[in-house]
Symmetry: C2
Subunit: 185 residues, 2 copies
DNA sequence: CCTTTAAGTATCGACTCGATACTTAAGTAC
DNA sequence: GTACTTAAGTATCGAGTCGATACTTAAAGG
């Protein structure tokens, strides 16, 4: 019985409660997570292997989930012009519309019981913890493009920004999305 | 894009990462949760409907999970002497032994990146949040017996403690377990 | 008694998820 | 170029979760 037992139990319990109200609008937990991911991932990340990395599951699993969401008309696949093995996954208008009723939004009401200072502090602590946990498990942080070590702002190249890792220009929109290659700077 | 979006995303992501390493020792997430629950629930709570309330799933689901764990030799069912419809679920020696290698323990290492003050603050905040979330969803908090409004310490009745709701004497051990009837005082 | 309610089980169908095997396309070596 | 290797994605299978439904048994209350 170490001193962190209660904290771990709280995580476990919160995760379970969150999981419980994730089945809504006919979508199950993983489908919601996939929808959220593709809505927020940049063009280097919004493909099946990006989701695979994000969720930490096998490619067969994500392949199935994407096919189901495609059948529901919430996602559509577009061939990748640069690599013909790959596909780009995009939300349809129906997908974006459904995301407005994300069951995770229920937590906004719950978070209201905390003060602004508490929420701020909680956010910083959880971010720290998540980063450590992902590093420990050798997984990518999937942070914002603009917070990356490879991000160069206001390049003279014409485009507003630039990625020094992939060596491509970046739009303003790109910089505000999450990226599988992101390394916190 | 409300201001709590990032906080909700952090919860979602932490929950997913925690879920990923919950498949260990041949047990899946729900089986681990059941094992943990029965190890910590008091005698009024360690039955199928207690787990049902705790996890927020249907009785058919918990019935199946318990049967699987019984077949694995980690749990055993004992008829309830007071109510012949009910059963008491107890961990076997093998169950207790397995719990030592709970994959959730991996978080202890991750929590080490936080200072003692941060952990303390995090614990208080999460407890507050969980309580609000459970109340919002009309679910029981499953707190410690000793922290309950119905708990009476050092009764003159002979037993060390007493539950004013169920009107039964309580041992010291009872008071340190979680209870489905618990109402925070 | 008889009706209602509660605890638990049995069964079904839809889905997740890991594992395995497969297809197609890049990348690289020669 | 041809051959080998690696990567992206799909197809399929089996075990398990989970809600829904129907059922059995027992308690509880007129």
């Amino acid at each position: 019985m170490s001193h962190d037992t209660k904290l771990i139990d709280l995580f476990d319990r919160l995760a379970r409660v969150a999981g419980n109200d994730r089945t809504a609008q006919g979508l199950n937990p993983v489908q919601w997570e996939a929808l959220r991911f593709f809505a927020r991932a940049n063009r280097f990340s919004r493909n099946p292997s990006g989701l695979r990395q994000y969720l930490g599951v096998t490619k067969g699993t994500v392949s199935q989930s994407i096919i189901v969401l495609e059948k529901k008309g919430l996602l559509k696949k577009v061939p990748d012009s640069r690599d013909r093995r790959g596909v780009e996954v995009r939300l349809t208008a129906a997908g974006r519309k459904l995301l407005v009723d994300d069951p995770l939004n229920r937590w906004r009401e719950d978070l209201a019981v905390l003060s602004a200072a508490q929420r701020k502090s909680l956010e910083a602590t959880l971010e720290h913890l998540l980063r450590a946990a992902l590093q420990h498990r050798e997984r990518q942080p999937f942070g914002f493009c603009r917070d990356c070590v490879h991000f160069a702002r206001d390049e003279a190249s014409g485009a507003p920004h630039f990625c020094a890792l992939l060596e491509v220009p970046l739009s303003d929109e790109d910089s505000q999305l999450i990226c599988r290659e992101q390394a916190p700077g």
